[in-house]
Amino acid sequence: MPVPILKQRDYLIATIQAALTDDDLKKLRDALVAQVGEFRSRGVIVDVTTLDVMDSFAARTLRDLSHMSRLRGAETVIVGIQPEVAFAMVQLGLTLEGVPAALDLEEGLAYLDRKTKRKTAAK
């Protein structure tokens, strides 16, 4: 099932709706990286609140998305990792290293606001 991507201000917001297949995740990654250019977005939020499992493939794909969009000039933040999903990730040894995470959509937006403001305010 494809993930709908919302455009809000300078940001792209992808809300994962259900259990995603590997293929869906790869398509989401590619669509977001493409749309960062299309809409000149400065930030990407991936909301994983309803994602049932974050396994090594999902973690790797989100990490790749974060690095790829950073190379295109946009920051990515993952929001909504549930407590039990976080527990399983740690047991599995997945840390999403280098990828910022925030509690929920609101915190994610606040994070991107801070992050992108600093860029424009650079002396």
Binding site: T21, D23, D52, D55, S56, V85, Q91, L92
Partner: protein, 145 residues
């Protein structure tokens, strides 16, 4: 190999042929774990382990199956997950169980991670014949302490 997901003699067999089946297998596993009274956190751990095992089948063997069943031992109950394939087999099982080892460009966390998620872990692999990974997780506080 069964063609449909079904519970036969307390056993659910999920054929694994594509990445979509990975999702089916972990959803079935979560459902069975919840049915057995595992907490939502434990069910997530079990579903995550199933996801990793099913992906190994798709990546290395192309096809195989995940068998989910109840297990009882001295009054304690648990879930047993068997991931079976007739793929190429693992050349060095010991190495595959070490963190950081992978032959498919992955994170190399698959098997050691699964081992940490579950209570019991068993692997039998034969070159050219296939691999069977059997993992169990016991219900906490259900058995003798």
């Amino acid at each position: 190999m069964a063609d449909e997901v079904g519970l036969v003699n307390d056993e659910a067999v999920v054929p694994i042929r594509s990445d979509g089946d990975i999702v089916t297998a972990r959803q079935e596993g979560r459902a069975l774990a919840s049915l057995l009274g595992f907490s939502s956190t434990e069910a997530t751990l079990i579903a995550t382990a199933i996801s990793e095992l099913a992906r190994n089948i798709v990546l290395y063997a192309k096809r195989g199956e995940i068998v989910l069943a109840l297990v009882e031992d001295h009054g304690r109950r648990g879930i047993v997950v068997t991931a079976r394939d007739e793929g190429p087999g693992i050349v060095d099982v010991r190495k595959a169980l070490m963190d950081g080892h992978s032959t498919s460009g992955g994170l190399g966390l698959g098997l050691p991670g699964v081992r940490r998620l579950m209570d019991d872990f068993e692997i039998v692999s034969q070159i050219g014949k296939g691999t069977t990974v059997t993992v169990k997780r016991w219900k906490q506080g259900a058995g003798p302490v």
